[in-house]
């Protein structure tokens, strides 16, 4: 990289201006794997939240991650989204995108969307405005001041409203939605960015049985088009959606396989029940 490139990139990073392509370059996942985590270790004051974690996620896969509290599930999400930097190891998105070299917004732009445990929709914005905020495309301040949404983006909003079944609520403030609706709106916001990889943290906590069922349908319908990683405690829910389950324990993978294989695994039973 020459000095001019460095300067230009620095300028863009800070001032958010300059020509940028509408969408980031597509992630190269031609080998069938969308996410490579290898030997990731994260320690906080000597406590190893992740301990040489190695995990691969396939393109279009719906993967559930389970594990007791403190197993490192959230830290793993933090590493993927750039919130936490690992002490060592590597994290690649497709074959060509090194996640450890990117900032949080760059990772979001490159096609990784994350849904947090608590619904974090913008309560003072309407459902429509929430989706509009999440729309993919150039998000620099100059663009958002002077250019309205494109027709394609508006079509996308309508599609997503339909997918998450919130058409009727579009003009309502998000703060007035029920808990389940907020979760779906947030998933809708992720979909607006057309992510290749969706990270979903405990989506059904606090939901009614009907809402859980609806969420399972929604997530299952997303697999195939997107790779989805779900962290969840609710085993019935995991059983209803997942083909592949990964069990984390003390910062590394304890077991992996179908839900039945995992539940039959003696080590898993010990971790969950034995202590």
């Amino acid at each position: 990289m020459n000095a001019a490139t460095v300067l230009r990139q620095g300028w863009q990073k800070v001032f958010g201006t300059g020509a940028r392509s509408e969408r980031p370059p597509a992630v190269d996942a031609s080998h069938g794997t969308i996410l490579y985590l290898e030997d990731i270790t994260v320690s906080f004051d000597g406590f190893k939240a992740l301990n040489a974690l190695t995990l691969y996620i396939d393109v279009g896969e719906l993967r559930c991650i389970i594990g007791p509290n403190g197993a490192g599930k959230t830290t793993m999400m933090d590493v993927i989204t750039g919130k936490t930097r690992p002490d060592c190891g590597s994290a690649w998105f497709g074959q060509t995108t090194d996640l450890l070299m990117l900032t949080e917004p760059e990772i979001a732009e490159s096609g990784i969307g994350r849904k947090f445990q608590k619904p974090t929709v913008f309560e003072q914005h309407t459902v429509l405005e929430n989706l509009e905020l999440a729309a993919s495309g150039d998000k620099s301040i100059w663009r958002t001041i002077f250019t309205p949404l494109s027709a394609a983006q508006r079509t996308r909003i309508d599609q997503v409203l339909e997918t998450v079944q919130l058409q009727e609520r579009r003009a309502q403030l998000a703060g007035a939605l029920s808990h389940g609706q907020k979760q779906w709106l947030e998933i809708g916001m992720l979909l607006m960015q057309d992510p290749q990889l969706l990270l979903v943290d405990e989506p059904v906590a606090g939901m009614t049985p009907q809402e859980v069922e609806r969420t399972a349908e929604l997530l299952s319908s997303l697999a195939g088009k997107h790779s989805v990683v779900v962290v969840e405690h609710d085993m019935d829910f995991v059983r209803s959606i997942a083909k592949q389950v990964t069990v984390l324990h003390e910062g590394s993978v304890l077991a992996q396989g179908t839900i039945d294989e995992v539940q039959g695994n003696r080590k898993v039973a010990e971790v969950y029940l034995g202590e």
Partner: protein, 383 residues
Amino acid sequence: MGQSITHGSGHSSDLLKMLSSDRSTQLFFAVLGAVAVLVPVLHLVFPPGSVLHLSTYTMTLIGKFLTYALLAVAVDLVWGYCGILSLGHAAFFALGGYAMGMYLMRQIGPRGVYGDPILPDFMVFLNYKELPWFWQGFDMFWFAALMVILVPGLLALAFGWLAFRSRVTGVYLSIITQALTYALMLAFFRNDMGFGGNNGMTDFKDILGFTINTPATRATLFVASALALALGYLACRYITESRAGRTLRAIRDAESRTRFIGYRVESYKLWIFAFSAVLAGIAGALYVPQVGIINPSEFQPINSIEVVIWVAVGGRGTLYGAIAGALLVNYAKSYLTTAVPEFWLYFLGLIFVLVTVFLPRGVMGLVTQLVRRRRDQQVPVIA
């Protein structure tokens, strides 16, 4: 605030369409337009002694309030919409004022007390041999006008770049903005800074070739202030009703969440802060020729805090609330500092506490609530 975008028409690119649906803004423009016409007419057309005559004092006072209102709009843009509680905006106001003051000083020319054709009086008094480099160019209005925009704008960019990049937020940011204005105050108090020390600049004679204290010039400055307020308001309204405005509110409500969905929060904050500083600078530049003096006391930390109180009293996050607050509090101030001067600061503190506790959305929030309640009572809702 809280207006939903409607699909299809969606965006603020059509400013007229936007305004046609915004009743509060229409009302504001109607009142401002009436004031901008009536006040100069009452001052110029009716002779002193007539019942309808408006004194120079009153017109200048209202003109000063209009520049304060623009400053309040600037603060509301960053605080009410983006959540940046700047306690240093009076510094940008004062810098704009100083840039205008330097122009006005250069216009005095040889008419100063010491009669030096180039050097302002205070420089002759302090034994300056020649004009400092940073005074060059200020004899030209266009240059001074450019500096009114550039100096506060660039300072805000530099300051904001350092602060926002390091993710200084909340009360810490407020404190360093106080430090900024305090540091500038100390600097401008120094005689060897070359800005007139604690006396500042005064005794202005001309602006753009017109004698500064004739009724016509004063009326023109008044109209210019009203126009600046109208344009500043429109620009801010345009921003807040655009997609960027909704992003700013998102940053205010949940900053890290906004960052996560791919917005460069720092760059949004930086540009809004700089734009707001420019508006404050313009307000300051219009303030100085009307009050006839600029000195370092304009940088006092309390001044910036007062601006925030205006906005809080009027109701933040509405723009027109900031204007209402600036007018209300300043009217109260000019009345009370004459009637019971020793009580003003207590009163200021008291209204701030009362507004914070009882009117979190300010006076305009209360008005909106009352209007809505009355409408709901008049029109029975048919479900």
